[in-house]
Amino acid sequence: MLDTVREIETPEGISLRLRAAGALPRAQAWMLDALLRMGVFMLAMIPLGLLGVGGNGLAMLLLFALMWAYSVACEVWLDGQTLGKRALGLRVVNADGTPVTWVPSVVRNLLRVVDVLPGVYGVGLVCTLIDPHARRLGDIVAGTMVVHAVELPAGTQVPTVAAIPPPVVLAADEQAALVEFAERSGQLTLQRQEELANLLLPLTGRRDTAAVSQLIAHANWLLGRA
């Protein structure tokens, strides 16, 4: 259950990968939003203060909009992102991975009232820690989840060397393992590369550095390079 990726099958028969966002980035996004809203309110108070008591009424309306409407409007119109969420690279999506719509957004933002309850988001925090997809109560009732919008950087590309065909026919998952090893070898220390490559002694018939370069050459062949 350590993996926070949720795979969802779409009508097109492929699976979407949603990476659930945990409590910390969401709290940061919330803080940013809170600061932003406070800033807007204070700025607006300058001209409204000059209007006298009538300005007070407008200030109340503005406060209302910032408190209740801001999140819903942002999530629906800005592709599931309030400005704070955009800064942190988060996005609200429906449980099936589609962009969040009006009613679910209203539900999850109204139920903030419950999630904040004992002081600062106590219920919400406990709930995100328990839930496998890190949803707070509002998300569960609304059927939404908060995901990381930014994709992880793709593994570094396979270094190009002269291709050597593997001596035996490899199954699809074995091929995938080989290619992934080659893709990631740049991120590993030399010792770790050799340690991993030595596991494939029956395939390569070599040890240490020679085994690593042999595996990368196989990976090049698997990628269809000449």
Binding site: T98, P104, V107, L110, R112, A142, G143
Partner: protein
């Protein structure tokens, strides 16, 4: 087919799609109007097919990740929510909302009882034993109520402030209460029950106390106009909270998760309807109820008319005509 040949064959199309997505991010309106946009659903389907192929053939992460990213973006564009239509909002308020309220009539009746019973009991009790008012309210609160509804006050129902200021105040205050009532219903309905009963005691207490000390005239003249919208909206928000809490307790023949999602869907629509009603109530309260100079007939006549209107709307709104026309 080897991976690199696959990429060479389709890479062009992927690049096109990628550049279309980034154009969409920058200029959504203009990009959507391009003729190229019409091809999007088809090319998205092809893309999904290619991703499935790439996965099935065990191509490297380089390709599958790239396709996966494109598919995620495409999925978001293809399944984005439809633009809101004013017609749908109007249809919801006229027909959908009353229908929804009627479909939840058990919770609505319970909420109405939870609110009106304590209000009536407090109202009657304070007529019989006026000194009980001091157990419900502090002396400062009582003094403020007496000042607000003093028959000599030219603007009844408030101690100071202009119409606009009070409008903002009523919106902020009343709608927040309604939203909290709904949301706190998630605690097995306890929150909603508490807010409903507490507000019942509060409103009944104010009415009872002012009636007992002889300020009843200005008080009833003030509240009769907006009470139809305000009290009904509070009851509806409470009922929405109750049904949410009851669903958590008794999900029926469903698992709790899906049952709660369905209840949340209903509850949010009820809360939105209550929000619209409270906007109307705040408008009436700020701009109409506070006029002291109108004769009693106009005040009570309009109040009765509004009550008839609200109840009739909730009772008949959105109903199919029985004659089949």
């Amino acid at each position: 087919m080897k991976q690199e040949r696959f990429v060479a064959m389709h890479g062009c199309e992927w690049d096109d799609l990628q550049s279309w997505f980034s154009a969409l991010d920058r200029q959504p309106q203009r990009t959507m109007r391009q003729e190229h946009t019409l091809d999007f659903p088809q090319s998205y389907r092809r893309l999904c097919h290619q991703l499935a192929l790439a996965r099935g053939r065990g191509y490297s992460r380089e390709v599958t990740d790239r396709l996966q990213r494109l598919v995620q973006q495409g999925h978001r564009v293809l399944y984005r929510p439809p633009a809101p239509r004013w017609h749908r909002v109007a249809m919801f308020l006229l027909a959908g909302f009353p229908r929804l309220v009627r479909s939840q009539w058990r919770c609505m009746t319970a909420a109405a009882l939870l609110f009106y019973l304590p209000a009536l009991v407090t109202l009657v009790l304070l007529q019989l034993r006026p000194e009980l008012a001091h157990t419900v309210f502090s002396s400062a609160q009582l003094a403020q109520f007496e000042k607000m509804y003093d028959p000599g006050n030219p603007h009844i129902g408030r101690s100071s402030g202009t119409d606009l200021q009070m409008f903002g105040y009523y919106v902020m205050n009343n709608v927040s209460i309604a939203f909290r009532t709904f949301a706190s219903g998630l605690f097995f309905g306890v929150g909603a029950i508490y807010v409903l009963a507490a507000n019942g005691v509060l409103i009944g207490g104010v009415a009872g106390h002012l009636d007992a000390i002889g300020y009843g005239g200005p008080f009833w003249r003030f509240v009769v106009g907006h009470s139809a919208f305000e009290l009904s909206a509070l009851v509806i928000a409470g009922g929405a909270g109750l049904q949410l809490g009851l669903t958590l307790l008794m999900p029926g023949r469903q698992r709790r998760g899906p049952a709660l999602v369905a209840a949340g869907w209903v509850g949010a629509q009820l809360a939105l309807g209550a929000f619209a009603m409270l906007l109307a109530a705040a408008f009436i309260e700020a701009y109409w109820s506070s006029i002291a100079a109108l004769p009693n007939g106009v005040k009570f006549g309009s109040g009765a008319l509004l009550w008839l209107l609200v109840l009739g709307w909730l009772w008949r709104g959105g109903r199919e005509r029985s004659d089949g026309a």
